[in-house]
Symmetry: C2
Subunit: 732 residues, 2 copies
């Protein structure tokens, strides 16, 4: 009788949950924190047996969100609610620190904990009073939160938990994302909706989305967010905005994410309080001290300022005949009493110099050693601007006495916006593993960032990201993968692009090998495809000016030569490429001797960087045996074929994932293929007018002539809503 009742109840419950809960479509909102039931039933059972209850012996905002995440994650992954207990029972998961957990205090972990620092953690299976338990232990609640996400990741990716015994600690201190969000909610180079920050309803309404944003980032170990555009609106420091920003900081705080702000260097003038912004003017220093104190009144754990100064029209210390160190140090002094830092961007270039490649180095190298201790120079990976492939910025090997951090770009400004698939984990990996030879072999960018090469004290890695109000945060679902890879590599720069892609795919889509294998494979060449159909062999910046979407390699005669395509490719009837050897701009001399020699010699320079450093004749013989012209054509066609391969691979996967994301990626790959052909044909046809040579046999003929592509570049809709170039185009 009782069983019958239970049976009926059970039938009822089943119906209730099948039909009452609207099944949420896989719309990408959950990113890699989907916590779907472990598909491998044997493994799920093992996991279920290992995690029967959760013990948290104390509470704090961070410990509470860690416990909530573990519950949410395990409830989903195990398809079974995990009991929250007040003591060790069977197969308990204990999370905490030696200070707030008596169990953890008694496990004898102190020596191992001493090695993981303030943000690291241990995860291990152990025994306590004859009971088996799993422990996530940190020295801080934040370490516990990071460990919790790590454990969940192991289950999400279906890893064996036999002999679970691991520790992890971040290799860099500042793991920061940069939002180029304007206060009017337009996201510069964002392509994924409006800014997440809804200033109209803040501080009163704190959307659930802010919480999920913090969870996503904390799951990667990201611990800082610069929430506004480096082309900064001074109003961000107004009381009205600080009040709103403080509400965001309150949401982020339990997740260990500090808020940073981009500031406008002329704020003292723009607020109408002073006549000058001169960093050596005592009134200016006082203004910043007072305003900074106000910021900390609102946000006691405020992170600091990010500054784009004397770059692309932004004001800076040079407006007052002061240098970058003067400028940065004045702000650093205002932040120092509160423990804040200055991220000072090295992205500068003057319009009148002969080689933009040299700009940043030439301005900053003389200042090495002059920056205050709480200043970190934020350097883009390459010397120009987030191009599909660049050699590394020579500053990394040159600034021995300056704190430096990396600035990558996750948002696809130069990779087809949110409509192309281009996993950038491979770009990050290539950059971080580049050996500069600054202090001999092993002086990789990763090691320099870690402070191991020059013994710098402040370390970090930043990325310009694009999450916006689009339901899936990033527009193209695969932009998420670059965000993921960035976060993982900011924690540990030795993680490979392949590992990050593998984890991301498993967590984001499925653990099914039939899906993972082909998709991971094409993710790993997707960035190279983007290089190939846009600017192979060391070409760069052939974009339609302003929007950076489509090709316009013929662009010339602008007021700013360094904003034209011909400035970069230098193609003529004789050849193509920018001579940066000693017979040219000699930018190559900015690199350590070993590399200067390697890059400076056309016979030793890596071919994928060749035209960055050499102007070579069209008939230059490449390692493939082809002439440079034929190799160039080959690469452009290869890029298109790679996209077509991605399409073919994707087409076969329909049954393996949800319909909604499948259809979206399929549609976007179609757009990408069309765009890749436009890139290829525009470039090949244009360069052909100079090389005078035919497209070799065997390649499909361009469907249209060059005139067609030139018109297209002027009239085509660019998939970025607000870009002025897009708005002013006359469409037919």
């Amino acid at each position: 009788m009782r069983r019958l009742f239970l049976y009926k109840l059970c039938i009822f419950l089943t119906y209730f949950f099948i039909f009452s809960v609207p099944v949420r479509a896989e719309d990408g909102y959950d990113l890699w924190l989907r916590y779907q039931p472990v598909a491998d039933l044997k493994l799920r059972k093992e996991y279920q047996q290992q995690f029967e209850s959760l013990l948290v012996e104390s509470n704090s905002p961070t410990l509470n969100v860690a416990a909530a995440e573990v519950q949410r994650g395990l409830n989903g992954l195990l398809a079974k609610p995990i009991a929250v207990s007040k003591k060790i029972t069977r197969n308990t998961l204990v999370i905490g620190t030696p200070v707030n957990s008596s169990v953890i205090a008694s496990l004898g972990l102190s020596e191992r904990l001493a090695n993981v620092g303030s943000e690291g953690y241990l995860i291990e299976k152990t025994r306590f009073k004859n009971r088996t338990l799993t422990v996530i232990a940190g020295n801080s609640d934040l370490g516990v939160l990071y460990g919790s996400f790590h454990l969940l990741r192991l289950l999400q990716t279906q890893q064996s938990l036999d002999n679970l015994f691991l520790s992890s600690a971040p290799k860099l201190q500042h793991r920061v994302i940069n939002h180029w969000d304007n206060l009017n909610r337009v996201v510069e180079r964002g392509y994924a909706g409006l800014s997440l920050w809804d200033w109209g309803t803040l501080p009163d309404y704190k959307s659930q989305r802010y919480v999920d944003y913090a969870r996503i980032n904390a799951s990667l170990g990201i611990n800082g967010a610069v929430i506004n555009n480096v082309n900064a609106d001074p109003r961000v420091l107004s009381d009205q905005f600080l009040q709103k920003i403080a509400a965001l900081a309150d949401v982020f705080r339990p997740y260990g994410i500090k808020v940073y702000l981009s500031i406008n260097y002329n704020s003292p003038r723009l607020f109408g309080d002073l006549e000058t912004g001169d960093p050596l003017d005592p009134g200016v220093a006082t203004w910043w001290q007072e305003r900074t104190k106000k910021v900390y009144d609102y946000i006691p754990d405020f992170g600091g300022y990010l500054v784009k100064a004397n770059s692309e029209g932004q004001p800076g210390p040079q407006d007052y005949q002061r240098d970058h160190a003067d400028g940065a140090n004045m702000l650093a002094a205002a932040l120092q009493p509160f423990g804040g830092v200055v991220f000072w961007r090295a992205f500068v270039y003057q319009p009148d110099i002969g080689d933009r490649f040299r700009g940043s180095y030439d301005e900053f190298k003389p200042l090495d050693g002059k920056f205050a201790d709480n200043v970190i120079l934020q350097v883009k990976n390459g010397p120009i601007d987030f191009q599909p492939r660049e050699p590394y910025s020579a500053l990394f090997s040159a600034m021995e006495k300056t704190n430096m951090m990396m600035e990558f770009q996750v948002t696809q400004e130069y990779f087809g916006f949110a409509t192309h698939l281009a996993y950038q984990g491979t770009l990050f990996e290539e950059s971080l593993r580049t050996d500069t030879f600054a202090k001999g072999k092993g002086s990789t960018i990763g090691n320099i960032l870690e402070g191991k090469v020059f013994n710098t004290k402040r370390t970090g890695m930043a990325a310009v990201v694009n999450p916006g109000t689009d339901r899936n945060w990033t527009g193209h679902p695969f932009v998420q993968s670059s965000w993921y890879a960035f976060g993982r590599m900011a924690w540990d720069h030795s993680i490979t692009a392949a590992t990050a892609a593998d984890e991301w795919l498993r967590m984001t889509f499925t653990n099914d090998k039939k899906f993972i294998d082909p998709v991971k494979q094409f993710m790993l060449y997707s960035r190279e495809a983007g290089v190939n159909y846009r600017s192979p062999l060391g070409l760069t910046h052939l974009y339609s000016q302003g929007d950076h979407y489509g090709p316009a390699p013929w662009t010339a005669n602008l007021e700013r030569p360094d904003w034209t395509a011909v400035y970069y490719h230098r193609a003529s009837q004789e050849g193509i490429g920018f001579n940066r050897t000693h017979s040219g701009s000699n930018a190559v001399a900015q690199y350590p001797e070993f590399l200067a020699k390697q890059y400076g010699d056309i016979n030793t320079v890596p071919e994928d960087l060749m035209l960055w450093f050499h102007h070579a004749p069209w008939d230059h013989k490449m390692r493939s045996g082809r002439s440079l012209w034929n190799e160039l054509v080959h690469k452009y066609y290869e890029g298109v074929e790679q996209v077509r391969n991605m399409q073919r691979e994707w087409d076969g996967l329909e049954s393996l994932i949800d319909a909604e994301r499948y259809a979206q990626v399929k549609a976007l790959l179609k757009v990408q293929e069309r765009d890749a052909v436009i890139w290829r044909d525009s470039c090949v046809l244009y360069f052909q007018t100079l090389s005078g040579q035919p497209i070799p046999l065997g390649y499909e003929k361009p469907k249209y002539d060059l005139a067609y592509y030139k018109t297209l570049a002027r009239t085509r809709y660019v998939p970025e809503p607000w870009h002025p170039a897009s708005a002013s185009r006359v469409l037919k």
Copy 2:
């Protein structure tokens, strides 16, 4: 044994569905189509018994979406899957037309069906070959779809289905929503994110959101959407955009929603094809014929053009010394071969006229009878511009020989954007039920729109709506209610605001009386609250210029006097209000005699319209016995108290609905209360400088002085991202 197995399976399934399906938070995305299980279990059982299977005997795009909606709805509401059968079984629901369903053909419905026209439907419980069945029958598949939504609504609102026997048909032909969406995805007066139309990925990617948009509108019987701003970008007629728009039209088509476009009158010039846009120039007429043919090539069932001409800077026929009829008829001729229509807006006013109130009437009245048959004049409800309360536009009673349709505004341009709660069903009802006495008693606006008063052939109702990419479509969850009420009243103008509110609350939140009763009550006075704290007693347009959010009743001395507040309120030391009687602008004479007399006499004019028509002394005695000044103060304070009442009521409802929407509305009511006080105090303190009289005893004193509010109006962040006024404000 078998039972035990079932029991275990059942336990498994329960767990599976509880823990595997992420429970979607109630984030407002589903609007009134949530289809949650019927909470009244007895009723649910009755419904379950009535609907055991679904029979659809044919298929077509529209019939398919109707069947899918019925399944989705019943599966959710009944918490039990409805079987799809191929013949009548027990308690079958049959949907179709006599043409595509043999069952329906045999039920003898032809006489009743003849009365419901091409879009109407019958729903009834009947018998067929000794079996009980329920039928939804229409003359067209679209009628069937509308009937399907109707049946679902009955279940959603927990209506009894005993003696189910009803029919319904729309009273108006064109039930249209207007989107003021720019092609750069900024929505003018939208306040709810970006435009829904993602031009960057169209036509290749058709987001699920487009489908849900169509479902939502079809559920109300809306059959047209003007998808772009009346301040129209000519590029909307380019091939590139038409291709994208055609993809949207393909999604909307099964749901009976036709696409219309706002056009720029100077398109022939702006495309660079012609030197003129003169409607009487044969080249211009040919240009429009050809372009219109192209539109129909892309979208065979295209609806037509909406035109804002010679209004607020938009081009129009008057630029070529032609009148509105010349302008509209030329376009009408281009559309006529394809069955398209022109919606020609009557919203015009010249800067130099003495009384903007008169503008529209003075321009259009002389043209009555001159418009082509497929032109419909689209007239805003009031003579000015969507103010919280206006008398009706005198055109409605004046244009006896012209097709006219209503233009309402759902988006809250003048009602606190997406941060205030202001259900506008009451405004629509008040407008539609206003008796103009044009042909004697009963000549209501609703009857005029229906064509009953002047025997016009084309009928319709439009509303400017604001759905954008915000997750809940409209920003403030309660803006949804005005969209809902508009749609219901466009179908049947006799539906009351109370009925629409009741239905909307039940479908959107819960059928729980403890929730419905208080919320419905405050919804019904929420619009009046907005009138009271902004512009009571017939005041109007006291807004801060440009943004239309906060108060600035002191605004004067602009280049355009008709864009100042003082132009509208005419307050002085003697009194307040705009004299529109025969001793003033005599706009009152635009109304039929009965109303002209009533409105023209300060003793008979309704007090809530008084200052629209009369300049009255401050000590004018009101019906309450108070002086005008004291009554004005009383109304301003009453508005704030009404908002506070809404807050108090809402505070008591936390346990009755989901946490997310509860918290959002609570936070927004807090903002509204603060804003209402700012409105009240700004207006009362400003008018006090003229009346010279004290705020009567018993009212709380304003916290700040007038100077404070004047500064606030210049410096406060306005919750609309892109508004120039908002962007240029200096914030402190």
